[in-house]
Amino acid sequence: MSTRTAPAPVPRESARKGARRPKGIAGNTLWFWLFVGPFVVGLLIFSYLPIIWSLILSFFEAYNTVTPSKFVGVDNYVDMLTDHNFLSSLGTFTLFAIFIVPLTFVLSLALALLVNQVKIARAFFRSVFFLPTACSYVVASLIWRLSIFNGVRFGLMNTILGWFGIDGIAWLSTVSPPWYWIPIVTVRLWLQLGFYMILFIAGLQRISPTLYEAAYVDGAKPGWQTFRYITLPQLRATSVAVLILNLIAAYQAFDEFYNLIGNVNFARPPLVYLYGISLGTIQDLGHGSAGALILAVIIMLVTLLQNKIFGFGKAGD
């Protein structure tokens, strides 16, 4: 088989390798690189090179330039780690994660359970909840900002408040109380719940019905008991995946903050801040690189920690 597949038109290559290895393997080496090579070259240029270049640049002063000019050692890192704005952006993120991760988990699981229990029009309900996944964060942010949570009187929420005689609220610019969290959190919930619901439905459908039957025989009642002792443990792998994906996605929040609130200091996640300093009016790519690498390390550490806590992979989905 291998000799037949060996390509003929590469005599030089196969001759060179042929000294050490059988001909078929030499042909395979060439074919391997024909298949994998273009991808690997691209990965080197657009994944590895940027990281290395960024790492170098993070030790230099680099205003409005991508070539390292003046070596400053770890100054950029020290600056970022003592930068009040950068630290507060990490705080903003943490608060955001505290809202969004548990809410997404509970609500997407609830939707999955509801849809899974419906006997009629199940496909319809699933589609309705999945449909927002078609929308971008920009689209959703525009709907939230200009229609639902528009701070003027004709915004939907303020119209509804008006029916009850309550004054309108400037949802996106009120700092105390921090009303802006409501649009920020709900926009992401609307966009991503359907996605995680699909993952949970797939997980639910993998649970063997015999488990429930056996529990009923033993006198368990449908509802909380079977949910707590059968459904939840069986969903372990899916749950861990949902939590980790959700947290990583939350760390990288940018679109909805940028489009709903903009680059303001009261609610600015790390990426919006880094975007501001490295691609704003002054392109400070030295500090930007240092900040991006710090953030990358934080995300990787949190991911590893989370994997360790939940023992990702052990449950074997």
């Binding site: 391997f32 509801l114 078609a134 929308c135 200009l146 009642k221 449908p222 490295s278």
Partner: protein, 294 residues
């Protein structure tokens, strides 16, 4: 199952919705479901309502449920607005969506096939080098990637929008896993007929994997169409704005025509709603297979 003791009157699972408590629970479930449906569809209603209203109807203090006279002229107004390069932005998004998806699938499927099926001494090292990039959180790389792309002179070009996004380690990983489970007998049959790696891949493997390709294509296209941060970084000139960047710029501008902007939203989500309508099966497969794609 035959051991159910009927004489003790133990509650049977099937009968539980007959009890009062069960009936209340059932009603509550339906109520919850309908509230959820309304909340999830509300934004779509607002898009349609605002896109087809006059500005006066939208900004009026009393809520109009739906415009009496549908303002289809808003479409014309949107495309005639010289401040917003709407047609150009849609074209850019389409090019980015189609070429970005096709390129990513082509590169990743070939790499995945090579890794899964072509014996090579260092294949595992290459594989680890690819998987290692999955550790790096995607969005954080926008500054490093910008550095490389700008030194290539690709800022504000379609090349800059598309090429850096083509090399997805995750897609290559998924393809490799998929091809590892591809039935070997089919490939062997092709080999017996004299096909090489290339012929086997294109004539046997790809045609027999179309549902998998379709699932990844649907997800990748949606991701490309909706992507914002990278196009924002690269699109420094309005000629290279994608539809997302155009809409975002439109809203952060001080003078906002709400009806026009919502028409832009409606136009921008139309292709995706069509994909959802016709390819939902593949999409859901793709989500559950990959599970991780944003």
């Amino acid at each position: 199952m035959t051991a159910i003791d009927r004489t003790t009157g133990a509650p049977q699972p099937i009968g539980y919705s007959r009890s009062t408590l069960g009936r209340v629970a059932l009603i509550l479930r339906w109520v919850a479901l309908f509230i959820a449906v309304i909340l999830f569809l509300l934004p779509f209603y607002l898009v349609l309502r605002n896109a087809l209203s006059t500005e006066a109807d939208i900004t009026s203090p009393s809520w109009t449920l739906f415009p009496k006279h549908l303002q289809w002229g808003n479409i014309k107004e949107l495309f005639n607005d010289t401040q917003v390069p709407m047609a150009r932005a849609l074209y850019n998004s389409a090019v980015v969506g189609v070429l970005g998806t096709a390129g990513q699938l082509l590169l990743a499927s070939m790499a995945g096939y090579g890794l899964a099926r072509i014996p090579y001494r260092h294949a595992d090292k290459v594989f680890y080098a690819i998987v290692a990039t999955l550790m790096i959180p995607g969005a954080v790389t926008f500054i490093p990637s910008f550095i490389v792309v700008s030194s290539l002179g690709w800022v504000s070009t379609l090349r800059g929008l598309i090429i850096p996004t083509l090399f997805s380690g995750f897609a290559a990983f998924l393809f490799r896993q998929y091809f590892l489970n591809f039935p070997r007998e089919l490939e062997e049959a092709a080999r017996v007929d004299g096909a090489g790696h290339f012929g086997t891949f294109w004539r046997i493997v790809v045609p027999n994997s179309l549902p998998f390709f379709a699932a990844l294509a649907a997800i990748t296209f949606i991701g490309n169409w909706n992507s914002f941060l990278w196009p924002l970084v690269i699109g420094q000139d309005s000629s290279s704005w994608t539809i997302q960047v155009a809409m975002s710029t439109f809203v952060t501008a001080q003078t906002i025509n709400i009806h026009e902007l919502f028409m832009a939203v409606a136009v921008s989500i139309l292709p995706l709603v069509l994909i959802f309508a016709f390819l939902q099966r593949y999409l859901i497969q793709g989500v559950t297979q990959s599970g991780i794609k944003d």
